[in-house]
């Protein structure tokens, strides 16, 4: 086993500024403990779009992003691998509709204006929900970032939106939830945030990559042990209230390492997992929408998963 890990002076990690496992691990000093010999540099990205560019330019070694952006990365042949699922989206991302519109089902959205941040997990979830309802071409989709969704909502310019917390909380007083990502996940349309590692880095420093994954797993374990403590840590790290952090974290699932590297998610030892299959479907769907040029095959997705340093 390579001990070249010691030669790495700095590890650059692209993060999302949300209350997730990375935030917990940072706040509680897990990273420092795991990487005493390395300088850790955390770089915040607003979206997976920017994170992908940074990975491509070699500006970061790890980056967290929505799995849809992971599909884009694979389709664009960026030399990266999926090494971790940070969280599975659930109630924290939802399709909401203005209460006054008196709409109860997705099918009734025909002719309405719906906003969502394009290229996000919400975007994919929304498209899937609309396709299932068979009204994909009968609504107007608008590409907006979260705060502009709030502004447009307040002006009454949009009738519905698929977005995440904390934006969701701003809309909910006047809105009803039509479906959320947990509902969709039950139908196999799973979305989540994932961490990609540069292939070159993972190959050169398998031990460091392994340790990185283990560090995040610590956060997952903490959440299972003591949810409240994980919430406070994340809240403090991100700079939001405990209440807000709790709301957001309650909406997500943190699988933990043992589950992730099993058939439930990423699969083990070259076999395919459920999450990988979901991503494959995502790829096919996106290719169908022409947002990516060709859909990667399931084998490509299997190869996309970092196999790790899996001996005990």
């Amino acid at each position: 086993h390579s001990q070249s890990g010691q030669a790495v002076a700095e590890i650059r990690i692209g993060i999302l500024n949300t209350p997730n496992d990375v935030a917990v691990a940072r706040q509680l000093g897990y990273f420092q403990a795991a990487f005493p010999h390395q300088k850790l540099k955390f770089i915040t990205f607003d979206s997976g779009v920017d994170a992908n560019k940074a990975l491509l330019s070699g500006g970061v070694d790890f980056a967290t992003m929505g799995d849809t952006n992971g599909v884009v990365a694979l389709a664009a042949e960026i030399p990266v691998q999926l090494c971790w699922i940070n969280e599975i989206c659930g109630a924290n991302e939802a399709l909401v509709v203005r209460r006054s519109a008196k709409i109860k089902r997705v099918e009734d959205l025909v002719g309405r204006k719906i906003a969502t941040p394009f290229a996000s997990t919400s975007h994919y979830s929304l498209m899937s929900a609309l396709s299932q309802a068979g009204i994909r071409d009968q609504v107007t989709l608008l590409d907006m970032d979260t705060q502009n969704i709030v502004a447009a909502w307040q002006r009454g310019n949009i009738d519905a939106a698929y977005t995440w917390q904390p934006t969701l909380a701003q809309l909910l007083p006047e809105a009803t939830v039509l479906c959320d990502s947990a509902d969709l996940a039950q139908q196999g349309i799973t979305t989540g945030n994932i961490t990609l590692v540069r292939t070159q880095f993972a190959q050169a420093h398998p031990r460091l990559t392994q340790r990185f994954v283990a560090t995040l797993d610590q956060a997952h374990q903490l959440r299972r042990r003591n949810f409240s403590q994980a919430v406070s840590a994340a809240a403090r790290q991100v700079g939001i209230s405990h209440r807000e952090a709790r709301l957001q974290m309650q909406g997500t699932t943190w699988p933990g390492a043992s589950a992730e590297f099993s058939s439930a998610y990423l699969g083990a030892a070259g076999s395919s997992g459920a999450f990988v299959q979901a991503m494959t479907r995502t790829g096919q769907f996106m290719a169908g929408q022409q947002t990516i040029t060709t859909a990667p095959s399931e084998q490509q997705f299997i190869d996309f998963i970092w196999k790790g340093d899996q001996e005990p």
Partner: protein
């Protein structure tokens, strides 16, 4: 062909060649830096089949419409206001600090407010472009007046010209060379605000095309959009320069 044109042509040919060579030899990643022929292929495809289900001409048309209405609006308002602000202390006191204040604020920072006030339709996009174009023209107006030799105004007053007449017959033509520079800057600035303006709640326009493509790392579409915007800007600037040469025959004679 003039010497200048020959040199310009040579520069672009060299650049094209360089681009071709760099991509042929795979000196940079093909993911973000597509080969010229790939961009051309994308262009033909988009020309024929449109992008995101909307024909190419519609993308171009909506973008140009947004741009031109914003620039026109900016010219119509910023020229008189800039000149008035250059002439009168009162107007200057009223307007100048406001313009100088909003001018440096990034459009991306206040776009949310525009949406709140003007909705997500065309108006907020056009207003954003308008605000970007307004400032350079206004500034050029003020400077045009200040740089104008005092004697022109003095002799006009001696000839009995009223304030309005001085404005139209002396200040305006005297500041025209400066205003033209301002308008050219404004066209550039509003072009370069285009992506920001079309980033929100759009599904059409060249700027939106670039943003959408960049989200999915479709670099050839992105490059095509960049080249289109640059080319359009170049064309517009060239037209403005021609117009200027026609109109301002006294340039360099002040």
């Amino acid at each position: 062909m003039s010497k200048k044109r020959k040199i310009t042509l040579a520069v672009w040919l060299v650049l094209l060649l360089l681009w071709e060579v760099v991509t042929r030899l795979h000196l940079v990643s093909g993911i973000l830096f597509p080969a010229p022929e790939e961009v051309l292929r994308t262009f033909v495809a988009i020309w024929q089949h449109g992008y995101n289900g909307i024909p190419f001409w519609q993308h171009l048309g909506i973008t140009l419409w947004r741009l031109f209405s914003a620039i026109l609006l900016a010219i119509v308002t910023a020229v008189p206001l800039g000149l008035a602000s250059g002439m009168s202390t009162t107007v200057n006191g009223l307007v100048d600090s406001l313009v100088q204040f909003y001018r440096p604020i990034p459009p991306l920072a206040y776009y949310t407010l525009l949406i709140l006030w003007f909705g997500i339709g065309e108006s907020s996009k056009i207003i954003l472009l308008y605000l970007a174009a307004f400032a350079p023209i206004y500034l050029a107006g003020v400077e045009g007046v200040h740089n104008l030799n005092q004697d022109y105004q003095l002799s006009a007053r001696s000839l009995g010209a009223s304030k309005g007449q001085i404005f139209r017959w002396v200040i305006f033509p005297g500041a025209l060379p400066s205003l033209f520079t301002g308008i050219r800057t404004a066209v550039g600035v509003s072009f370069s605000t285009l992506v920001a303006a079309e980033m929100v709640a759009s599904t059409s326009g060249i700027g939106w095309m670039v943003i959408d493509a960049s989200k999915y790392l479709k670099s050839s579409v992105m490059f095509l959009g960049i080249l289109l915007l640059g080319g359009l800007g170049l064309l517009l600037d060239w037209l403005l320069q021609r117009l200027e040469r026609r109109l301002i025959f006294w340039k360099g004679q002040l």
